[in-house]
Symmetry: C2
Subunit: 426 residues, 2 copies
Amino acid sequence: MNAVEKSLAGATKHTDRAGAVESAARDDAPDEAAKTGRWLLRRVAAILGDPPIEFAIRGGARVRSVAAPIGRVVFASRAHLASILADPWVRFGDGYSDGTVSVEGDLVEVLEAVYRASTMGDKPSWLRRAAGLAHRPHGNSLRGSRDNIHHHYDIGNEFYALWLGSTMAYTCAYYPTPTASLDEAQTAKMHHVCRKVRLKPGESVVEAGCGWGSLALHMARHYGVRVRAFNISHEQVAFARERAAREGLAGQVEYVEDDYRNISGHYDAFVSVGMLEHVGVKNYPTLGRIARRCLGSNGRGLIHSIGRNQPARMQPWIEKRIFPGAYPPALSEMSQIFEPWDLSVLDVENLRLHYAQTLRHWLALYETAGDKVRAMFDEKFVRMWRLYLAGSVAAFSTGTLQLFQVVFATADNNDIPWTRAHLYGS
Amino acid sequence: MNAVEKSLAGATKHTDRAGAVESAARDDAPDEAAKTGRWLLRRVAAILGDPPIEFAIRGGARVRSVAAPIGRVVFASRAHLASILADPWVRFGDGYSDGTVSVEGDLVEVLEAVYRASTMGDKPSWLRRAAGLAHRPHGNSLRGSRDNIHHHYDIGNEFYALWLGSTMAYTCAYYPTPTASLDEAQTAKMHHVCRKVRLKPGESVVEAGCGWGSLALHMARHYGVRVRAFNISHEQVAFARERAAREGLAGQVEYVEDDYRNISGHYDAFVSVGMLEHVGVKNYPTLGRIARRCLGSNGRGLIHSIGRNQPARMQPWIEKRIFPGAYPPALSEMSQIFEPWDLSVLDVENLRLHYAQTLRHWLALYETAGDKVRAMFDEKFVRMWRLYLAGSVAAFSTGTLQLFQVVFATADNNDIPWTRAHLYGS
């Protein structure tokens, strides 16, 4: 019997008004302090929608809403738990990072249980809205975007190389079958994108937000197109340029260290994979205007982005610690890219289960590289990024986040695919 | 040389301030009346965006914006043209119906030229908005919907049987290849819909708006499901019930003469093909609530509807004479079905070129049956429905209208297709 099993087995239960089953640990007399502890634990359980998890204070009170919880969350002390309750959406993540919150059991499963409890059925989204009011996201002015992108993408190419696989693609992969490997699925994703916009040899493509450059190289190599790829991450552009030179594609692919708002010229196709999350809803009409302006009458494009079923603020801890300025839009919000410019949406595909799988692969590689990450940074960083990756698996696997690939064309373009069968041929 | 060629060949040209090339007919001296006539014709040409068409008054003035117009629109008199200009979006259609407006050349091509001229590029949509302000659509209360649907769908099953093909499906077909026949494409559309919601034998389906019943019968026959299909058109329900009995499927398919707002019970799938156009945007959250309520945790659904690239009022003549209460939504508006209820959009497919092809097939059958239609109704009706069908071809072929098939699921449903390859297998 391990520590989790022991603690779960030793509990005595009763049902309280809120339907939670509580227990007093053997070494915790039902005195005032324990009462306060249980009250605090019930609050945190209620905020999280009473998931099937035990909540405990180290060496103190515990509560659980089911007889057989799938895991256990332990807070360092009553005082620490009280401080978390003042701003739970940020401080839970901070506490996990610094070790004052520990999770026993499978981290992904525990987080999935939390997402399911807080989003399932017809529950009001007041919690997410309340969280949104308390945390204004970072702005995405030209300067603000540079700072936001630098925060996340410039922390070291060697770090990302540890767990992104050989393509260095840091976006949702496409698994033709669930058993495909990460690298196979990233390559399949790049083909899927190219087929969706039906690239033909000799055409020109502009890419808004190109990461470490893999898609631009793939388009040039396999589809014979010229690509101009924009990115404001200095580290990523440096990496991508070196890669293009090494692979002999520098003549076909130009990496431009600049903001998407400064895209000029005319192209046959506009592609943006995994940038929209950093654009900000109020800039969507600007992004659409730029796409419309740079496409001719047979223009077509693709935007690939994390999204949501309904408008809601980014999880505040992720927005604050991991992705400043990020926001996953609902389709009604994404429409503001296309509708002002009479752009025609041809195809929307939701790949959320593929992103859950991609993130499972990243998380496994990340855990394998744990010692290297610790040597590059510190234990707090290791835990912070583990929580981010595990939480992201859970968000996609529970349907809290979506992944939308949207194909569009100029309104008068009749040279569009007759059906989508060409995406699924051999 | 036919009448059109003669009239086009005999013109003398000069360029006016608006860039239009005018001509005075040989028998029309450049007097005050002719000046007034040309002024009126230039107004109508400008309202339509100066398409490459000649506009003329019978036996009088003419104007054209290009040297070789693709067709000619002739108004009975100056007085009649002046009355059309007071409310062009309705009275042009009425004039065509009663014969006071005639169109020489290919009707579809002429209407395509008008749609292209008025929507191409980045032109402001003030014309459509202005039209919208002048014409409030018919409401879609429970009673209003009944009146609106009765107006269109209850004019006679024999009439529709003349030109809809053997399936009697009155919605966009799906052509696996552009050379498929209408009946093949309607059958392929029904399979496409059933595969998209992945029907399994023994499941139950609710259909909101079932037309003459073909999809419900198809689902029951080919996918082994039970179907409850709702429709408020008395004539259609009577036809569908008789058909189900004749085909031995009355035990599997129940047709209910009632409004979608009165759907009750629980089902595995929710399907609505070609009803949303009659629902009204303000009722979209209600439609979504009903879909959400009748689906379990593995629920999925499909909504198939005419749509637009951006919100705009229905063409007013169509709304007034053909489809009272109808409105084709933009995707941002359709989102109001799904977002309030946390329904997850899995797949959007735009089939506008398929609807243009469907309408070409309908129009050809309709023209073949012209004498029968005239015998059932009168010449005015024949012309009115010809304009509606030809105008609809033009609206879809020019990208003025879209056709969206949206697949959705409850947020926590992970039993969703891994990819869309199953739609394209043999």
